[in-house]
């Protein structure tokens, strides 16, 4: 039985472990440490943990000041506040001077569930991706999250990391040859008829969709695109050339996120049918996480339907 852990839980453990080896790591939170799971770090390294209260804009600029003095701040809150409310601070205080702050947005996407639309951030990739010099990551499982946190600790510059709320099956640890590198997508399954590019928990959904498609005689190549920016253009080009059609899937508005990035690149460099799967420019709503995802078609079956459309669009 594969490990099942939420990426936020894996992050919480990883950042606490990293604290032991890197004394420059400092963690900031905005009164959500129990849910962003920075509380283990807080208990272990109280002198390096700053609870900034419910004041995300200040937290982002304070993190910038800490980075300007040689610290490696990881600032944490929900994605909607990290990427949304504090957007301009992330842009002007952190990214414009190129400071080494990791902006960590937990509870990304619709899988927030019951809290509803106000807390379901489906715009963070677009918001963060539009800032010059920003790196944007959304790992899919606990194993990949641990690798991402380790890589980010040694990455000098601003980056955004999205965490998910729901426990998800670990899939990347058993992929032969899997190696995490910022800016390099991972092929989790080879295929020849169509490419599915996914990030976050949609990676596991894409793998399930590929199983369903295989039963219908369609061979899908699945890319885990944990880095949305910079996009692994070489891998994308290779996959598009090989399969001739691309589907993107993400727990995000289809405008401006992973799908936007992929469509922009392929539109300019290798136009093939690109079908985006995700939230169709709508707000979410309250409900059990899986029920909300199902209501918006963020399911393996939803991906299958979009993939069939992509295959049909091939000339």
């Amino acid at each position: 039985m594969a490990e099942k852990i939420a990426t936020r839980a894996a992050y919480g453990k990883a950042i606490a472990a990293l604290g032991k080896t890197d004394p420059n790591i400092v963690v900031l939170d905005a009164d959500l440490s129990k849910t962003t799971m920075t509380n283990t770090f807080a208990e272990t390294f109280p002198e390096r943990f700053f609870n900034m209260g419910i004041a995300e804009c200040n937290m982002a600029s304070v993190a910038a000041g800490l980075a300007a003095c040689g610290k490696k701040p990881f600032m944490n809150t929900f994605a909607i506040f990290a990427a949304g409310r504090a957007w301009e601070q992330v842009r002007n205080s952190i990214c414009y001077p190129g400071l080494n702050v990791k902006v960590v947005g937990s509870h990304g996407g619709l899988s927030v569930g019951e809290d509803g639309a106000t807390h379901q951030c489906t715009e963070d990739f677009a918001l963060m991706r539009a800032i010059s010099g920003m790196t944007v990551l959304c790992p899919c499982d606990g194993h990949e999250m641990r690798e991402a946190v380790a890589a980010l600790a040694n990455f000098d510059g601003p980056a955004y990391l999205r965490l998910g709320r729901l426990p998800v099956e670990t899939v990347t640890d058993t992929i032969p040859g899997y190696k995490f590198e910022i800016g390099k997508g991972a092929v989790l399954r080879d295929g020849s008829d169509v490419t599915i590019v996914a990030c976050g928990m949609n990676v596991q959904m894409a793998l399930k969709a590929a199983d369903i498609l295989a039963e219908q005689g369609i061979s899908a190549l699945v890319i885990d695109m944990h880095t949305i920016k910079p996009l692994d253009e070489a891998l994308l080009l290779e996959a598009a050339q090989k399969t001739g059609a691309v589907v993107t899937t993400e727990e995000h508005n289809v405008l401006g996120g992973l799908g936007g990035a992929v469509a922009e690149f392929l539109g300019e460099h290798y136009p093939v049918p690109v079908i985006r799967h995700g939230v169709m420019d709508e707000f979410g709503r309250s409900g059990a996480a899986n029920a909300v995802l199902a209501a918006y078609g963020i399911t393996p079956e939803g991906i299958v339907a979009r993939t069939l459309a992509a295959v049909a669009a091939k000339r």
């Binding site: 004041a55 200040n58 600029s61 910038a64 000041g65 601070q89 205080s93 414009y96 001077p97």
Partner: protein
Amino acid sequence: MQYNTPLPHMAARGRLLATEMVHRAASGHLGGSLSAMDIIALLYGEVLRINVNNPRDPDRDRFVLSKGHVTPALYAILALRGFFPEADLALFRHIDGDLSGHPEMKHVPGVDMSTGSLGQGISAAVGMALAGQMDQKSYRVYALLGDGELGEGQVWEAAMAANKYKLSNLTAFVDVNGLQIDGPTAQVMPVEPIGDKFRAFGWHVIDADGHDFASLRSAITEAQQHTDGPTMILAKTVKGKGISFMEHVAGWHGKAPGDEDYAVARAELEAALERLEA
């Protein structure tokens, strides 16, 4: 770190350079630069422990210009202090230079924080002071805000955080010139009583005359001796200080003088400088 030009001369030269910069660029914020000039001159001329040959010394004192639009004052003083040649000021706000409209730490030696979006600089200063406190460094962090800037909610978030962490290595100033772009601060968004507000937020508050070096110096010394949290120095100033027709006029917040006004301003500033040298 003592600087060998007397402060009144440094500030008077700074006013002349700032006015030249804004006139040449035909854009820039002169009113607030002139009100803040004496504070910035005192910090760089006498207070900050900095080394122009090692502007990124990790142990240096920091200055964050939270009211980032007054680069004519900051850049003029940095040039006079020797961080870069005075000739570079000619490219202020120019596409061929690095001296952008708002402070930029990546390319301008001596700038400790990129600022310009109001409210963010004071938070960054809190972060710098926190880092110093954590590592038991002896450096101090200074920040300068505008009174109009206090309208930003983030200022008060930062004020709460500075009190929570008892950042006695942090000294901030408000350049209380009473005017902002759209008019008197009292009309645009009343912010007084500023002192009571910061006291309520846990800060030690000192009133000072922002154009009197002795008054500012004594306030800074008191701030340095205060060990139970951050200090706010409310520096009463005159917007447009030093140019008669700009003094107390909100319209000169972000307007560059034309040739005629510039000639009058220049003559006044040169006369002031001559009086100091006489």
